[in-house]
Amino acid sequence: MADLTSNFIGIKSPNPFWLASAPPTDKQYNVERAFEAGWGGVVWKTLGAEGPPIVNVSGPRYGAIWGADRRLLGLNNIELITDRPLEVNLREIKEVKRKWRDRALVISLMVPCEEDYWKAILKAIEDTEADGVELNFGCPHGMAERGMGSAVGQVPEYIEMVTRWVKQYSRMPCIVKLTPNVTSILPPAMAANRGGADAVSLINTIKSITNVDLDNFSPFPMIDGKGSHGGYCGPAVKPIALNMVGEIARHEETRGLPISGIGGVTTWRDAAEFLAMGAGNVQVCTAAMTYGFKVVQEMITGLSQYLDEKQMRLDQLVGRAVPNFVEWQHLNLNYVTKAQINQEECIKCGRCYAACEDTSHQAIAMSPERVFSVKDEDCVACNLCVNVCPVENCITMVPMAKGALDPRTGRPVGDFADWTTHPNNPMAVQAAE
């Protein structure tokens, strides 16, 4: 078994799987169950300022979308930060940390954008012995209307300002949690970096309406005939999160800033992808909410096996894909692949044919006996057939050797050449003159 011990910005945990700040981490009872199941750490559900607690709706808080067999693919919520009194949370956090020394315990915070509020809350949590704080600049619903959460995360100046206060009034490691509800994730990440954040965590949830109730004509989750947008998470958001994590990991100004990866991590494989994309650890919520805390055990064994097979240490995996995350203009335009259908594996459903014939390049032939074959002269290697095929690895993309004649273009496969030097690129032509 590979060693999964994690050290993220000085916070140690037996594995890199933390539970994200969310409903599963709202109480001592849940958090202890999570630790018993094997989770490496938790970010305690966001605490607010002292005073009357937050109020939640008493109708549905969650909406969802499903795949086949009602597999939950996306979840959205309109729950606010903790609705329990601050002192109760603080007492429980202290108890949990004392009982579970080897686990990471980070406290998520969200108070109004005024220095005194931050000073006060940081003082209040001082003696919990928690390992760090995470600043919730991401929550896109409810709290944002009150000038907190994503309302802060969408303004880089505020991020920088608050992060400075936190670093000024606390010696705890500080993670800034970013909202994806921005046109670019880079300015908020840079602001956190400038403010002195020890790390960023992302993504928080995405503004969303999961569906519209077609009898009541209301967005869902529906509260007494009305709906408000919620925050979207789960497997469906993973691609968005991976991109944002990668953008921060590769940018020259934010490169090296530790990242806690969040967004649809459901299996060890998802986690490994986040790590390769530059995350130092991952945070999970929807998978636990869907299947219970036990899912972490598959993540632990899966990641261990993978690292063993690759003969790699955990820290060697982190960021390993980042150098290969380039802009489109740097992709090799002379790289040619062709789809290939394994006739042994093919179950003759014809989905590749329908997809290619109706919506792509008419590059798959169908015989009267339902034998499907690729027409290399028409195949642009778009990969759609691979994606719609129900049998994994039945259709694969096979690269053509350099020098081989591409039957589609009639030209031999050439050396590396990207858009920056392509004759059709006006900028390239300009550069040549």
């Binding site: 086949a68 067999d69 009602r70 179950i347 003759k348 459903c349 014809g350 989905r351 044919y353 329908a354 169908m366 339902r370 129900p390 049998v391």
Partner: protein, 439 residues
Amino acid sequence: MPNSPLTPGIVPARLSAEALARNFADHEPPFDLHEARVAADRCYFCHDAPCMAACPTTIDIPLFIRQIATGTPEAAAKTIWSQNILGGICARVCPTETLCEEACVREAAEGKPVEIGRLQRFATDTAMAKEVHPFSRSPSTGKRVAVVGAGPAGLACAHRLAMKGHEVTVFERRPKAGGLNEYGIASYKATGGFAAHEVDWLLSIGGITLRTGVELGRDITLDALRGEYDAVFLGLGLQGVNALRAEGEEKEGVRNAVDFIAELRQAPDLGALPVGRDVVVIGGGMTAVDAAVQSKLLGAENVTIVYRRGQDRMSASTHEQDHAVQAGVRIIHNAAPLRVLGNGRVEAVEFAYTEDGPGGLTLLPETFRLKADQVFKAIGQTLTGAPDGIRPEGGKIALTPAKVWAGGDCRAGGEDLTVTAVAEGRDAAEAIHAHLTAA
């Protein structure tokens, strides 16, 4: 002392009323909504789907399953009925394991096809429960068509013709419409009077007059029908039963399996229906299986199907054979009946082992006897009473005179299945319509 499976002879009430009710309940209960959704989710929505090609009525199976998956089973039912107006009974009796489900790509992928038959039943049952008929009639054409035989072929033909605006009269020799759906399939496949209910529902489109108890050749003639109507459709079915050609087959206790099945289907009280203690069924098709299984379910102690060729030649599907074996029926292959033994009443049947070689079937010298107090003959049905002017070829109707069409089991070509009969009846209706509306 009440009867039991051990009571000798052909006697009623071998089992309690409760046991009979349990035995003859719906043998494959309908899907509930959740089961249907889960099953529907497995469909890949194949291009030019193999299941469709395997369906004699070419139902758009991927489309109707998607309609179930998206919560519109009524639309699914209409998709089914637009190709197969008897989609309800076909969902129950079709040998799907040799048709659509055999062709399902998930059969190739995992050996477990999408449960198309049960999904079809879910859709049609859901829509029929709403008691609306999804099709309406076109304006009247003033044309009149006679349909002889109210089995699946005749009913499908009549419905399609009525839809096209023609006036249809259906003549049926039996007291009830439905043909084999009503008289010829195992009871547990169409419980709750479903076949009769489906006929009523089908007729509710209007424009169809049903005249039962009228037999071609006895009460009406083809010539008269041709004179009186603009077109005639013959859906006669197969009314004759092949003989065993075994010595002593006239003995008491020997009867046609189809008659037993029909009597059972129409019996108001299964407890009053007599059945033997040692039942021997001779044949290898669905009729043999239906007669054997139902004998067992009525309480016969020993039921044996004897088929003269190997298992691979049985026309009953593997699924049906398995069903029989699970019900406790013994199946003996490669044995042909020589003699029915007994003093006036059957006591045993003597068989010879057979060999199925390139030169045909030969009887081997070795014989054996099976104790029997009841013997059912199920070695195939034949066309009898073909009307004047029609010369059957190979035992079936191939050519018809002007203004006459034929379909279903009586017609040459295609398998003798309900679903094939529906397809032929429907297609004949389209041909008749084209003929009647040609300028």
